[in-house]
Symmetry: C2
Subunit: 344 residues, 2 copies
């Protein structure tokens, strides 16, 4: 886009020739080359970067599409997340939304708004994170296009595309009374990681770098789950094939997201505390693992999913029960909760 | 996304009940309802907002996809652009990228990062701008999904999808020696509008609101072209049907963008000054009209396109000529030029 920065506020800068220049010192072309060298084309990219738009295969005759953004401050802290972490996470959360529809991810588009004083090596690490998250979680999916702009606030907006392979999309509104409720992936681990970060690496209101030597194994794993989540992308299409009646990814905590599924489906979801692992409160309240929450006809769970409850007739004003008791809204609404205590 | 704002820095806010509350005072749900009430589903939306992802028709078996971002500061000034203007422009620039591939736009996804003190009415105006730009420029295309987050910097990242209707994509690399070079849409008007804004409504380094009474008709039209561009979206598919060998939208000025087409195609583009209108320098240097620049076999221009030059064999280091003279890089690279004088 045209840059409207105040006239005369800054000199026009020529490429500095430095090995690791600041973004404000190099041409857009050099930044793009840095990214493209690290993100090989995916098998569904019929036409990759270099034109006004990319062309991606959509063999089913439809395309699944979602967008999700990470903004410095509300969504991450530079002291905690490396460029690699941010590339990985922004890819993973979008891949999870595609998988949650029962689709196979085919492509990512990445819109980056980057402060001028960020280093080119940061962009390179971001691109490595995109590539590795795709390779690990959704082989064949790749970055096919994007946009670069400068901004006072670092922001990474990713759009993911996917293919339904001829199946209908699995929505969150199809859960039937009598279905099993099941989960694939972690519950509450990423949220615990966030709590460790705030408790241990946040002083006088400021995030400080993580000291790995100060962490026990569980804490290190939880922080890794927060910074580089590993949603089970391949199990989304598996669930669809197995006949899932409803599915979504758990981004804001099981209590809140199961409530959304229950309300969309006009049912109540009855969870069993004993199935929620060693830390049921973390599982109910902790978001950002991007586990897949799904309903299946009773007894029809595919491999990778474990039963955590069942679907019952709608109880008035009680979308979610746990061992028969109503579960309040323990999860996270970024607008409602903006600025509130994130130590959960 | 989870909000990591510093613990205790701000109270959790309940919905204020105000008619026009700030974004930080209302639930994400209320913001979403405000947008959805203004953006009816398009005819290609097989599944609209409400699930983890949308499903959009891709009848050709492929999907064209692009993303482009507007960031407050580098890309727009709040004193000049209303919410409606920003919705319109962020839709239009993405629709132009789809059209430039010869495709018909089918859907938009919108990632919004909004400061907490912005009013809900601003979001409503943004949504009106998205809807009206689609209705005016690409009927049938509509917002199918998006993402909301809070941010210190206002940012609008739009992804547009499109369908090739069975045709191959028109890239920027196919221009052939002997082709006519043609344009559809304005040249240099939006850039002139930006120059009027900086010259007349920018004091002590700060943008001030536009006073319509202080403008003559040409200035008012130019500012409108800058704030609410009208690229000829429907002519993109028309050009493809007519046999365009190369096409792109002019976002950074004719000199720079024609140079990109020439380099991608391995040719030189020879422009004719007399065909560039009353202000050839504006046409060469001024970006953001998002006109469609295309190459056609000689004499094969479809209605809506006008001839401005021809394709000749590549001349060394001279991608663009005007009346036989080399044209330097007059256009705009937002990274290289960040902060430089925008009065062109």
């Amino acid at each position: 886009m045209v840059d409207l920065s105040a006239p005369g506020s800054d000199a026009t800068v020529e490429d500095s020739g430095s090995d690791d220049p600041m973004i404000g010192e190099v041409s857009e072309g050099r930044v793009l080359r840095t990214i493209l060298a690290r993100t090989p084309a995916g098998r569904d990219a019929l036409l990759g970067p270099g034109d006004d738009a990319a062309v991606v295969a959509a063999p089913s005759g439809s395309v699944v599409a979602t967008t999700d953004t990470l903004v410095e401050g509300p969504d991450f802290r530079a002291a905690w997340s490396s460029g690699y972490d941010l590339g990985w996470k922004s890819a993973a959360v979008n891949l999870a939304d595609i998988a949650a529809m029962g689709a196979r991810p085919t492509a990512l588009l990445v819109a980056l708004a980057v402060p001028k004083d960020r280093r080119l090596s940061f962009i390179a690490a971001l691109a490595d994170g995109f590539r590795d998250a795709c390779a690990a979680l959704a082989p064949g999916c790749a970055v096919v296009g994007g946009d670069l702009t400068v901004s006072a606030t670092l922001m990474i907006a990713v759009t993911a595309l996917g293919d339904l392979e001829g199946r209908p999309a699995v929505t969150r509104s199809g859960a039937q009374v009598g279905d099993d409720i099941a989960i694939a992936g972690e519950m509450g681990v990423a949220g615990h990681g966030l709590s460790v970060l705030f408790r241990r690496f946040h002083r006088d209101g400021v995030a400080v770098p993580v000291d790995p030597a100060a962490l026990d194994e569980g804490e290190a794993d939880a922080i890794a789950a927060q910074l580089r989540p590993m949603p089970p992308i391949g199990l989304g299409p598996m669930a669809a094939i197995a006949g899932a009646t409803a599915m979504m990814d758990v981004s804001d905590g099981l209590a809140l997201d199961a409530g959304r599924m229950a309300e969309a489906s006009g049912v109540t979801i009855s969870l069993e505390r004993a199935a929620l692992g060693a830390h049921p409160h973390r599982a109910l309240a902790g978001g950002e693992d991007h586990a897949l929450l799904a309903a299946f006809p009773a007894g029809m769970l595919p491999p990778g999913f474990r039963r955590i409850g069942s679907v019952i007739a709608a109880a008035a004003d009680t979308p979610v029960l746990c061992d028969g008791e109503p579960v309040g809204p323990l999860g996270w609404d970024p607008y409602r909760d903006a600025g509130a205590d994130a130590r959960r």
